[in-house]
């Protein structure tokens, strides 16, 4: 289309104006523009407070916090892998069955074949990679939609779990193995606040403050910062406060759950993978616009394949932790876990169409589900009503997200 603009109109493209006005107004405006992330965080806090009040303070009792972490670790572990799959625009329905399968194989290796449990753990993680490679091959190189491949995998690995167990269940497991699911770091001191946990909590808080300050100064240096200082400080104080609160609660009970260390490592590693590595960036590129990624020279098939290998390893890890916690390898382990993980990811702000989502978001989503489970159990809400409420929370979270996007897109 040839238009007849005068040369004076050259360069008349609209320039988005930088935010202006007083700091408080700016902070509020920023808050509104970031409503989806902020809202998630606020929702978590509101839900915690709600249960804290309705359960008469049981929710934040030291023993309950400790249980909460142990019992929901599997959702959080699986959510880390699932969010990556969903960012790439795929889905994995097989993780629950892989949990059962890997647990079954671990049981046979450790109790029947007498393989030392640390070796068995490594072998099981390799097995997870093989499972992922199997599914990744069909998805990436054969072009079958992930929904179909992993639906088949859901049946396949559930069946294989039964085959491996030969219709039985395996229990008990050695203490060393059980520790990865329900153990604690060795405790020092006899009474009051356990010192090792306090030191770890303090170190984590310092690490958070340092990295946040450093990132902010880098963003400022490159002129990318639009987060108001007030809001930055509020967020920082809140995050550190939360870490310290959990630290104190854990320290006054049994100390640091080993699974919390596993989770912490997963979150740190995969946040870096998604944010800072070529692999992670290619996952976002594939989910955001597959055709554009291909035409930019991204090896989309290989990336998708590796993504599912990674998911397989994480599902295997989830299977080991869950089996250890339950002290039981059973063919019905992990039933429906895929749905918990997928819910966590979507509550955590990921987009069904791909390209959007974060590891910390998925963790917060998983925590919301975990606290709902825990709080409703304390309140003696029936399993039927629990499901209704969880369904509505998922729907509300995604509806809120879509509403938010439409609103900001309309401006």
């Amino acid at each position: 289309m040839t238009s007849t603009l005068t040369p004076e109109q050259r360069g008349a493209a609209p320039v988005p104006t930088p935010p202006q006005g007083n700091p408080v107004g700016r902070a509020l405006r920023y808050l509104r523009s970031q409503l989806s992330q902020t809202g998630l965080f606020l929702a978590l806090i509101v839900i915690v407070l709600f249960f804290q009040i309705t359960t008469g303070g049981v929710t934040l009792q030291p023993d309950n916090v400790s249980n909460l972490i142990n019992q929901n670790s599997y959702i959080l572990i699986l959510a880390v892998g699932m969010v990556m799959v969903i960012i790439a625009g795929h889905i994995d329905l097989s993780v629950g069955s892989v949990v059962a399968f890997v647990g079954a194989v671990a049981g046979v290796m450790i109790t029947r074949m007498g393989i030392p449990w640390p070796v068995a753990i490594v072998l099981c993680l390799v097995l997870g990679a093989v499972v992922g490679a199997w599914q990744g091959f069909w998805i990436a190189y054969f072009g079958i939609p992930a929904f179909i491949v992993t639906l088949a995998g859901m049946l396949l690995f559930r069946g294989l779990a039964q085959v491996v167990l030969g219709g039985t269940q395996i229990s008990p497991f050695p203490d060393g193995f059980r520790a990865i699911g329900s153990g604690f770091l060795p405790a020092f001191g006899t009474t009051g606040y356990e010192p090792l946990t306090m030191i770890l909590g303090a170190l984590a808080s310092i690490a958070i403050v340092i990295t946040q300050l450093r990132q902010r100064s880098i963003r400022r240096k490159y002129d990318l910062e639009d987060e108001p200082l007030v809001w930055f400080l509020v967020k920082l104080v809140f995050t550190v406060g939360l870490v310290l609160l959990v630290t104190v609660l854990l320290a006054s009970y049994n100390g640091t759950p080993i699974v919390l260390l596993i989770l912490g490592a997963l979150v740190v590693v995969y946040t870096l993978v998604m944010g800072r590595t070529v692999f992670g960036r290619h996952i976002y590129a594939i989910g955001g616009n597959l055709a554009a990624a291909q035409l930019s020279g991204v090896k989309t098939k290989r990336t998708t394949f590796l993504l599912f290998v990674n998911m397989g390893v994480i599902a295997a890890l989830g299977g080991l932790v869950f089996t250890a916690q339950l002290n039981l390898a059973s063919p019905v382990n992990g039933n429906g876990f895929e749905l918990d993980a997928i819910s966590a990811v979507f509550i955590g702000g990921a987009a069904v169409t791909g390209g959007i989502g974060t590891v910390p978001g998925a963790i917060i989503g998983g925590l919301i589900i975990g606290i709902l489970n825990n709080g409703m159990s304390i309140l003696n809400v029936g399993i039927d009503v629990q499901q209704v409420i969880k369904g509505l929370v998922l729907l509300a979270a995604v509806a809120f997200d879509i509403y938010n996007k439409r609103r900001s897109g309309g401006r």
Binding site: M1, T2, S3, L5, P7, Q9, R10, G11, A12, A13, P14, V15, P16, T17, P18, I218, Y222, D223, L224, D226, L272, R276, T277, V278, F279, R281, H282, Y284, A285, G288, N289, A291, A292, A293, Q294, L295, S296, G297, V298, K299, G355, I356
Partner: protein, 513 residues
Amino acid sequence: MADTILEMRGITKTFPGVKALQDVTLQVERGTVHAICGENGAGKSTLMKVLSGVYPAGSFDGQILLEGSPVEFRSINDSEAAGVVIIHQELALSPYLSIAENIYLGNEQSRGGLIDWNRTNLEAGKLLRRVGLKDNPITKIVDIGVGKQQLVEIAKALSKEVKLLILDEPTAALNDDDSAHLLGLISQLREEGITSIIISHKLNEIEAIADKVTIIRDGRTIETLDLKAGEVSEERIIKGMVGRDLESRYPDHEPHIGEELLRIEGWNVFHPIDRSRQVVFDANLVVRAGEIVGIAGLMGAGRTELAMSVFGHSYGSNISGHVYKRGREIKVNTVAQAVENGLAYATEDRKRYGLNLIDDIKRNISGSALGKLATWGVVNGNKETTVANEYRKSMNIKAPTVAAITGKLSGGNQQKVVLSKWMYSDPDVLILDEPTRGIDVGAKYEIYTIINRLADQGKGVIVISSELPELLGICDRIYTLSEGHITADVPRAEATPEHLMQYMTTYRETTEA
């Protein structure tokens, strides 16, 4: 005295920021074939969408008179009820339904709420015979070729008791035999009293079957020529299509042309799905360092197909031929290989194929060369930001920061992000497909300046464009492409719009090796 079936008076249609049609008039006589000609983007399709109710009455100014009385179509259903049926360039058939089901889609032959399959198939069979098809009406659409699908579309139009049939580029996707058959059918329908409006780039076809031709340029009616009354040459039509002044919208540029960078020899490409249809025929092409080479061709000539097939076989099937860089043969079987070998391709459809619209500027810019920013697979975010900021300044990308989401930028700025992405991959040869499509005049000037700068850095630049003035304004040499054949290689000094248009509309056997 002439029996006018359709009259469009003073049609003006405005899109935000652009006047697509300005005071267009069109008169079509009953029982004729009326052609509409114009360059890509002249407004032909918009005019037909106004006529068929795709753009409802009220969204444009002007009046439409059908058989003498004013009509206001609010939707396609209204216009079809009045006997005006449009067949779009992209066929609108449902591939897994049968021919008969498609013909009566939305107009199902039912009795008492149940579909009368006997009548459906019987009537469909009659219609098929009218358009010269012998296929069984229960054959699925996927099982017949594009040529037959086009005829099914016409049969569908006939089922609606069409008075005025509009065909938008009906032969663009057809081979010679199918085209000839279709044109024969249009003449036959004329004998039966059905009036047709045909939009086409192929001047030989227009000469062969049209009674009159109306030429549209820049959204205005230029003239209507009577093809039956006297000799109207193709040159005459071309003059009407391109006859406009070259404004000084192009920056001055002194080329410094060096050694040969890229040579493509004997390049053949077939359609990716319809594998028997050849899209590019034995193309040969050379680009030298510091040279800006244009590829001119009308829609469907195979410009994008040629470029994308060279860029990592990202289009087509059965690709054969050789690509040489600085005289050494290179492989371009995957996009990654093409990029490694110093090729870059900036797509004509930047929203679909060029950008991750939900991600920010810096990550889009680094997208094709992330490896340059990474050590051991870890991306150096600071370096990335620095690089993106450099491009933001040098390319004059208007955004508050490089963390701005690309989906919210204007077309011109999006295009600059795409160009930055490919400049950062540091290619030797850049293929720019419609680099200024959908961009305002000011930003176009900036893009031309960038193209000149790339050439001055010793890179070879291939520019594909539908706008001849643009090619004439910036290129050192222009290839013309017609129906998949490279028909000429014209130096800038010898190129005129008429000259180029002639090569773009005629495919000559003699050019085939």
